[in-house]
Amino acid sequence: MEDHEILLKFQHPASRNLAFNQLVRKYQQKVYWHVRKMVIDHDDADDLTQDVFVKVWKHLENFRQDAQLFTWIYRIATNECLSFLQSKRRKFFLPLNDVGSELVAKLEADPAIAGDAIELKLQRAILRLPDKQRLVFNLRYYDEMPYEQMAEVTGTSVGALKASYHHAVRKIEDYVTNADIPSYSSDEVD
């Protein structure tokens, strides 16, 4: 079902639930993986994905259609992820690198990456990035999202996004090149 059909049906109380069910089915995988890449843990990603769709439900009537529906949903998901990571630090009084260490530990425990030393180094390097820069990197490198769309999702200018991605790639390459360091340490500041 096309987005405009979903939105049209959502306006009518009789077809609202059906339309929203279609919307969830259409975008659930993209939202889940977008969130999962940021929080690594499946249970956290599951909770956040549901929260994202509940927010979409609450605000869909106000959706202005200035942006694409998916961009709008992605933006909600992005904000949820960043708020989650920020609140996690506040809640447990954790400094930036401790949350990073926790994410790395979860990643290393994931059987999907076991045995691939280079890939593990790469993922550790990505997790060293500040949250917003990691978000930019994920959107560009893994999702191959155009910069213009990324600008809508993040509310940042295209120029700033290009610079942020360029810096992220350099940091990752430097880290992986010199990554004999077993312990995690972060010198990044948001």
């Binding site: 993986w33 999962r36 990603a45 509940v54 869909l60 009537e61 691939d116 090149t177």
Partner: protein, 151 residues
Amino acid sequence: MKPSFRLDQHPRRWPQPLSSPPAGYFEQLPTRVMAQVAAAPTRRPLLPAWLWQMPAAVRTGLASTVLLGTFAASLWLNSAPTGPAAQPVTLANVPQEQLLNYLTNEAHLTLLDLAELPAQNLASTQQYLRPSATELTEALDAQPAEETTIL
């Protein structure tokens, strides 16, 4: 010297190398989400949906018109004369003869009210009623005895 790592030469794994969610997760997720939203009502929009569908320029123009209209209306209402302040001026401009006609015909005055009037100002009775001696005699004769005593 170590060879430099180049990201563009590294085979990209997609999605990020993370284990897949449990089997059947994406089949169940919509049902779980729908169960949650059933308890979460949609937020009612402050403005109707058709208004949001208008171009931004039209919405801005409409908002400006409404704002200006409200301002003009409030200005007009504030400049209009208010009742209590204007009342003395208005009454002063009404001829006394009309006032007396109103009071005698519309205000349901009792004979007692009329009886007290000459006591306050005898000239006013003569000025406005201008009764002749014959009319006065006839009026007095027509009154019941107990009411004529107060005159």
